[in-house]
Amino acid sequence: MIIDDHVHVHEWSFQKGDREFEVDYVVELMDEWDIDLSIIMDSLAYIGLDQRASNDYTREAVAAYPDRLLGFANIKPPQGIAACRDEMARTIGDWGFRGIKLHPQVDRYPVNDRALVHPVIELAISYDVPVWVHTGHQPNATPTLMGALARDFPQAKLIIGHMGSGMFYDAMCMAKRYPNLYIDISLQGGHAFGAACEEVGPHKLIYGSDSPYANPGSMKRIIEESSLSERDKALVLGENIARLLHLVPVTAS
């Protein structure tokens, strides 16, 4: 099963009339690139829409394609733990969303912030869902700070989004160091992917595209054309995230 762990939908596009972010188009892209399942999140939460409205739209999109899409909830720790607790109860508890996404850069908090983030991670642990974190910007959204979070919460399932972007080596060092830290490889290139396979191992790498910002085929092709074994490609392309989401039985990796 091919799973794309990072896809966006919007109720309206950044450019009016552009259907790039409509859910129908997202699924067309999935068909074009033979992707079975995508994890989606609405990203308008990051340009002003509140987390509830944003997650409402994700729910609508999932409802339109329940066999193809899984929802992750946008959670904004600066809105306070009460609001986050309510939103996680609504999205994960009531609707069946399978994880949460944090964007520490846009929402402006260090991702290892004890007061803001630690209570949210505790909630994620209690729901047994992964936490997908945008990384690639200092000072708040970095792989090194994700390492501190993984150290403090060894039970949490944490995903370093975009492999740290320009901080890809830091992401590798952290994922290698902490067993509960995984790497989403969206928006990376061949060098970073190859180095991560060597340093961290394919059992901790997760295919993601950041579609429709990026074409889902570009990263998928890098994996498919890599020198990894077919077994390892399958891990990266779907089985690793499936294991975190309990979509497949847990097996030793």
Partner: protein, 284 residues
């Protein structure tokens, strides 16, 4: 418009130069550029020593920064060797090498009395994670064998490709007992990462430099003075003002100078910070 008043601990002499008020507060500057290509007026011995005197610097660790413009590391090191021979009581030689052709240059420099090698992470030296293992780790091991420290010059004003912490992490992984100094930590946005790194590696030394005052104060509070040395990268910045900023952050007046001297002396011996973990090789 009237000129801004100098900080309390300095005064302006009749020649207009700033001079420290207290003779007691002599400190060690662990990063001083010699032959800086962008500051030709400071590329001579006279201006360097005058700047040291004006800032209260008793001892400066000097490296041949001209190499970043020429990649002629041998000539840059030779200029440092000559300089230090003239003022061995004031100057400590630090070597620079092309990391991809580091040997036998490293051993030769150490044989000649150079006290460390500074790794420049930019300037055309793309230190991939593999290259760190291939080139920085062996240099660190060579230094460690002689009880010397390795100095890793990080961000400068731009991020290092690949991140802020992987380089010391990889070196530490390979050399658990090495004396590692992170230098050139200039990028304020990288300090969240450095502080997280510092929390995990209690034996890391940090070279501080000018930072936004609030951030510097937080850094000093979280690191503790025992892990800090000061490096101005003279002539890129005025060392006296860097010192004043750190003094304000530390809040201990002229006592800071002796702390910096003591810390620098430990680094020169390849020792960890005093307050580090019980597994330290030195528990004094």
């Amino acid at each position: 418009m009237a000129a801004a008043a100098p900080p309390e601990h300095v005064s302006r002499g009749s020649d207009g130069a700033l001079r420290r008020n207290s003779d007691q507060a002599k400190w060690t500057d662990t990063s001083v550029c010699f032959g800086h290509p962008e500051y030709p007026a400071h590329a001579e011995t006279g201006p360097l020593l005058r700047a040291m005197d004006a800032a209260g610097i008793d001892q400066a660790w000097v490296f041949g920064y001209r190499a970043v413009a020429t990649h002629d590391f041998a000539a840059a090191n030779a200029s440092v060797r000559t300089l230090v021979a003239q003022h061995p009581d004031r100057l400590v030689p630090i070597g620079l090498v092309n990391p991809f052709h580091a040997f036998p240059a490293v051993e030769n420099l150490l044989d000649e009395g150079f006290k460390s090698i500074k790794i420049l992470t930019g300037w055309g030296n793309w230190l991939t994670i593999g290259n760190v293992r291939r080139v920085v780790v062996p240099i660190t091991q060579a230094l460690q064998r002689r009880s010397l420290h390795v100095s890793i010059a990080l961000e400068g004003n731009i991020p290092v490709t690949g991140g802020s912490t992987f380089l010391p992490l990889i070196v530490r992984e390979a050399c658990p007992d090495a004396c590692i100094v992170l230098d050139h930590c200039w990028l304020p946005s990288a300090w969240e990462d450095y502080l997280a790194l510092a929390e995990d590696d209690r034996n890391l030394w940090f070279t501080l430099h000018s930072l936004p005052q609030a951030l510097l104060t937080r850094v000093v509070r979280e690191l503790g003075l025992a892990r800090i040395v000061l490096g101005s990268w003279l002539p890129e910045t005025d060392p006296d003002l860097v010192y004043a900023q750190l003094q304000r952050a530390a809040g201990i007046g002229d006592g800071l100078a002796s702390v910096l001297r003591d810390n620098a002396a430990r680094v020169l011996q390849g020792l960890p910070p005093r307050h580090a973990t019980p597994t330290d090789k030195d528990t004094t």
